[in-house]
Amino acid sequence: MTAFIIRRLMQSVGVALAMSLIVFIGMHIVGDPIYILVDPQSDQAEIDATIRRLGLDRPLWEQYLLFLKGAVTGNLGNSFVHGTSALPLILERMPATLELAFASLILAIVIGIPLGLYAGLYPETVASRAIMAGSILGFSLPTFWVGIMMIMVFAVMLGWLPSTGRGPTATYLGMTSSLFTVEGWRYVLLPALNLALLKVSLVIRLTKSGTSEAIHQDYIKFARAKGLSRSRIVGVHLLKNILIPVVTVLGLEFGNQIAFAVVTETIFAWPGMGRLLISSIQSLDRPVIVAYLIITVLMFIVINLVVDILYSLLDPRVRLGEKSA
């Protein structure tokens, strides 16, 4: 197990290095990187100073090492708009985004698995057909438009939930999150539901197809022949088999959630890093964009690593030593 994690970590470092190289090369292909890293309004003296400070007058390989050093030490340049270092700007908004993505993941599981299970167990009923039709719709609905309609219905027309912003936070076990307060959940519910929309459809489909496949397996019939209760057959024998693909896919989709939070955060004025990215793109605040990219790439790598480990813990048939990436 330890050997597996170490090897996986080494691979992750390799991927991170490859990605940093791509970002670095990308910056050079697009144009002189100085114009990516320096405020368009700055004069020649400032530009020269920055070139020297960032070492852009040195050979390419040395520049790359400097870029790496900057990335590792958290110095990726200052935001043109905020005037402060770009990396902390992203990092301080990260908890809000993670919180939103996490809440939507919970909703996707809580809503998707029971519905998918029902549709798989009773495929012929009207309710099941409605669930499956709804999941096709869920794949097709443009997230941003649904978000707008949610605000329209639940905030403007019914007035049940607040339309924008993040609720009060509380600190618990060293983590500060609005998920620890009731009011916080009132704020996060609509954006999380919006962000969960696609995932709910995905979980429903995965659970349903897993269920309808598993119920015809001999081990389910054998469990029935053993006289087990229906709840144990569904809750243990069936669910444990279905959960493996669902957890794996959801884990891998967590990165997607974070990326897609860009849209949800913009609609619901959620103070996360996605909203910062959009305003940075609009104002061409490039150091922030580069910092965002590096942070997300690192997050993706961590998520993939965690999912791999989780998968091997869940499925006894996967032997860690033999798995190749």
Partner: protein
Amino acid sequence: MSVAEPTDPLGRVEPKARAAAETPFQRFVSDYFDNWIAAAALILLGALIALALAAPWLVPQNPYDLAQIDILDSRLPPGTPSSTGAFTHWLGTDGAGRDLVSAIFYGLRISLFVGVSSGIIAMALGAAVGLAATYAGGRIETLVMRIVDLQLSFPAILVALMLIAVLGKGVDKIVIALVTVQWAYYARTVRGSALVEGRKDYVAAARCLGLSNARIVFRHILPNCLPPLIVVATVQTAHAISLEATLSFLGVGLPQTEPSLGVLISNGFEYMLSGKYWISFFPGIALLLTIVSINLVGDHLRDVLNPRLSR
């Protein structure tokens, strides 16, 4: 692939007799129209495309001819007659006084154009790269597929946002971004089916006949890759339309001068908190109908074109 069992556990024999006189295309068409939902989706899609193409001759107003727009008509609720009395704003007007029916039909044109053109370019590019990689084999194939995998491991929206951050706004930029996001799916699809096809006997037979590799790839393997490619193309086009609308909504997609459905929805967003729902709602419905109908068609095409699933 296919289960070679004439009877199932109950001893039933699968009825598989079919009229031999049908051509494959006729069979495909009749298979497709067996499912009324898919048939309805195809008809709806056809109608939407026709409406978009014929928009200039159908709608009461050219929403981008400033001479035809009266700012006094702005934000009128659905069903209000226009100030000139010439026609009725059945779906209301937007913040600039444009008739929404007209704006939606024109918006549909732009959305479909961007989605379909980026889809076609991405398909051509992706299929070419996928085939070329399979044809070349070895290191080149590995390298290309690594790049494809790497790109696909990143969310499309993130890749598109980064490209736009670098390229800037505009129809051409959006199309470039959408093509970049999509090509990898096509490349992977083509390579996947090319590998499967390449192992089949007819390819071995073609080799024995001494045909050139290029001829085998393009005349023998490519046509057999088309069914999965078509399925991916429908799904990807729906994705592209949705993604363009999302980017435009975020304010980093199409400019106001090229108002796709996403731009229309975005424009209505600011009026929504004051209860003027229609400016965002109706363009959204048009977008939804477009995407749902394409997805339903694609979903059913997958069933019909997949020989393993055919009943």
